[in-house]
């Protein structure tokens, strides 16, 4: 039996780096964001619109293998037509120096509202994704990502 890595190495060499989209800088003050800071950011974007659940999916590992580069992807259930599409997806984290992580901008030409990047998480925290739709509706989801010291697995 052979592993499949040999073939892949042949095809791709040692591999490159997946480009991140619209990554906001993580620099900033030393103070940690918290749930309240995320809430304030969301309030800033949402205004008096009602935040709904559903339609948006945030995929991230339950436990990060490496807090310095955590793969995160977002997708929104949308036909992506001129009349009905996703305009923006914002990603927040409540345990980093700043709550805003990145914003993905979409147009109907994207075909589907899906994006993937890697983010740095300083510690165990909640990651949020907020979708703004062309009709003005907003959808929110969140997921806890554990950043652990490691070791001791059975």
């Amino acid at each position: 039996m052979q592993t499949r890595i040999g073939r892949r190495r042949l095809l791709f060499g040692t591999g490159g780096v997946v480009a991140g989209l619209g990554l906001a800088g993580l620099a900033g003050g030393s103070a940690r964001a918290d749930a309240a800071a995320v809430e304030a950011k969301i309030k800033e974007i949402v205004g008096d619109r009602t935040v709904q659940e559903g339609r948006i999916t945030l995929d991230a590992p339950e436990i990060a293998e490496n807090g310095n580069t955590v793969p995160v992807s977002v997708s929104v259930d949308s036909p992506m037509t001129a009349d009905d599409h996703v305009q923006r997806v914002h990603v927040f984290a409540d345990g980093n120096p700043r709550p805003d992580v990145c914003t993905f901008h979409f147009t109907p030409k994207n075909g589907e509202a899906w994006a993937s990047t890697r983010i740095r998480l300083a510690k165990t925290q909640k990651v949020y994704a907020l979708a703004e739709m062309s009709d003005g509706s907003v959808y929110l989801t969140s997921r806890e990502v554990k950043v652990t010291i490691g070791g001791c697995g059975g």
Partner: protein, 564 residues
């Protein structure tokens, strides 16, 4: 003439009077349960699945005591396998003192170990496997290995996993998955897979650059006219629980959605009528997964070393738990109709070494594989007056030996030892040979470090590990037991949230509370960081035992359980 039950009672009563492990008790064990009793099974349906898992490279029989503390949290509280001792016996309707009680609980361990003897041994497993294949016909039997097969013995470490690959090629599983296998490093894993004569399956491993599958995720078999899909699930948190630097290009995770897609593909495109997940997730993770992923008929669980005499049903999925260290072989017969399991029969076959005739060819191979190391393995370094074991949520008696060795040999105030679930047991009065010590220590990152840590840092580490064990959501659990601590006592409330579980940390030498701001000299081993310097842990432990000769229970730890 004595009935079997009376015979056993005699054995238990007589045990404390017996010195050593004479032929009397062995003869009794043979009368008690024979190979035929172990194999007896009313066959059912078209397909027989045999499952072994977490053998931890134990080629020869050993003692293994099941945990006396195995706490479940959240929904798993009090649910099997989170039952121990008499609660376990009562739940499954088992008799105290029976072979089942010996195999499945820690009750009367010393006495029953004398009566029933050692467990496991790959030559005994081979006998059972061959017998089932002969009875059912090879075309109806699937033998599946859940992984943690290549690590845990001195011979596996010395041959970098090769002895197990050779032995397993003789046993001929139809597929395996993995966890500790990865601690030989990516390059060696690929070499060993190259030597395997059966598939190595892991749907949940992707390369870190392109998120592409590293291994095959699924293999298809036809058994008894049924098309069977076997999907492999490696331990999802390998790069967290074990050194990531050894497998830098491989990313793991549960990958529920990818698994669901694979199950659908197997059923809808490949026409599988039976879907089996060969899993190293750990029991509670698999329990949750079974309620969320549709279309899996059977999950062969592993990793958490649980053994249950009956499968557990979650929705339409059967969960099988086969234990560890070669102590059991599961047999699951299935009747499949219209792509569904309509009936099943199950037996957790106990591998009682004294009751099973060794398979001649496997026995020969095992002897050959061990021959270069036989002299060092059998060297007796001491004896024990107490039962030695590791398995359990908190410090076992063998952990305390390791911690005492670390404290003394590295002149530390506090010692840390990982809560691994592997490592053999010994009944009181038994000699301690080097092989026994290696079953607790043989791994590829054994260096004993010596560092300074503040009380606050120690608390962070303990809270972190406690959350890996007691997070109420199983998807955040890593499946090890609590880190073992020497030189420092503490109290723990498993039901509290992270950051508040560990209380009253006390330096045992002085009885004073651990000061968050003071630095303490800490010795430990099995760091997941690269470039750790220090002697291998087995050297310290062997020297410590040689110095003492007789172990009577090291007083280096204090753990108190509190319920909030």
């Amino acid at each position: 003439m004595l009935t079997r039950r009376e015979l056993l009672q005699v054995a238990v009563a007589a045990a404390p009077l017996l010195v050593g492990f004479g032929n009397v008790t062995r003869a009794l064990a043979r009368q008690r349960l024979g190979q035929e009793d172990i194999l007896r099974f009313e066959p059912l349906g078209q397909v027989t699945i045999l499952h072994i898992t977490d053998i931890h490279a134990q080629l020869v029989p050993l003692y293994f005591r099941e945990p006396s503390v195995n706490i479940g949290v959240g929904e798993a509280a009090g649910r099997p396998p989170h039952l121990t001792g008499r609660d376990f016996l009562a739940h499954f309707g088992l008799e105290a003192g029976s072979p089942e009680a010996y195999m499945l609980t820690s009750e009367d361990f010393d006495a029953l170990a004398r009566a029933y003897g050692k467990v496991g041994g790959l030559d005994r497993i081979a006998t059972l496997v061959e017998a089932v294949r002969a009875e059912r016909g090879e075309d109806r039997v699937l033998l599946l290995d859940g992984g943690d097969t290549w690590q845990g013995s001195w011979t596996a470490l010395r041959t970098r996993g090769e002895d197990m690959v050779r032995a397993m090629n003789l046993l001929r599983p139809d597929a395996m998955t993995a966890h500790w296998e990865f601690t030989y490093g990516a390059e060696r894993v690929e070499e060993l897979i190259g030597m395997l004569e059966f598939p190595f399956l892991a749907q949940n491993v992707r390369d870190t650059d392109w998120e592409e599958p590293v291994f095959d995720g699924v293999a298809y078999f036809e058994r008894g006219g049924v098309k069977v899909a076997v999907i492999g699930q490696a331990f999802p948190y390998t790069p967290v629980a074990n050194p990531r630097w050894m497998i830098p290009q491989w990313s793991f995770g549960i990958r529920e959605e990818e698994l669901q897609a694979l199950v659908r593909e197997a059923r809808e495109q490949e026409g599988a009528e039976l879907v089996v997940l060969l899993s190293h997730n750990g029991f509670d993770v698999d329990h949750k997964l079974a309620s969320r992923v549709e279309g899996i008929d059977v999950i062969l669980t592993g990793h958490t070393h649980d053994a249950m005499p009956r499968p557990m049903k979650v929705g339409n999925t059967l969960l099988v738990a086969t234990g560890s260290h070669g102590k059991f072989v599961s047999r699951l017969d299935l009747r499949v109709e219209g792509g569904r399991v309509v009936d099943y029969a199950y037996k957790l076959m106990p591998v009682l070494a004294d009751a099973i005739v060794p398979h001649p060819e496997m026995a020969k191979t095992v002897t050959e594989l061990r021959a270069p190391y036989a002299a060092e393995l059998s060297e007796v370094v001491g004896e024990t007056e107490i039962t030695l074991y590791r398995r359990g949520n908190f410090n076992g008696t063998m952990d305390d030996v390791i911690l005492a060795a670390l404290l003394e040999r590295r002149e530390a105030e506090i010692a840390l030892s990982p809560g691994f679930r592997w490592g053999a047991s010994l009944p009181s009065g038994a000699p301690i040979d080097r092989e026994f010590v290696y079953t607790h220590t043989a791994m590829t990152y054994p260096q004993v470090y010596r560092i300074e840590m503040t009380g606050a840092q120690l608390k962070t580490v303990m809270e972190d590990v406690a959350d890996n064990l007691f997070n109420p959501d199983p998807y955040y659990q890593q499946g090890g037991d609590m880190v073992r601590v020497g030189g420092m006592g503490y109290r723990i409330d498993p039901t509290a949230p992270m950051g508040r579980r560990i209380i009253d940390m006390t330096l045992l030498a002085t009885g004073e509370p651990v000061d968050p701001d003071r630095k303490y000299v800490v010795a430990g081993w099995a760091s997941v960081n690269p470039d750790v310097e220090g002697p291998p842990v087995w050297e310290l432990v062997l020297d410590y035992i040689r110095d003492r000769r007789v172990l009577g229970g090291e007083k280096v730890s204090r753990v108190e359980l509190v319920r909030g």
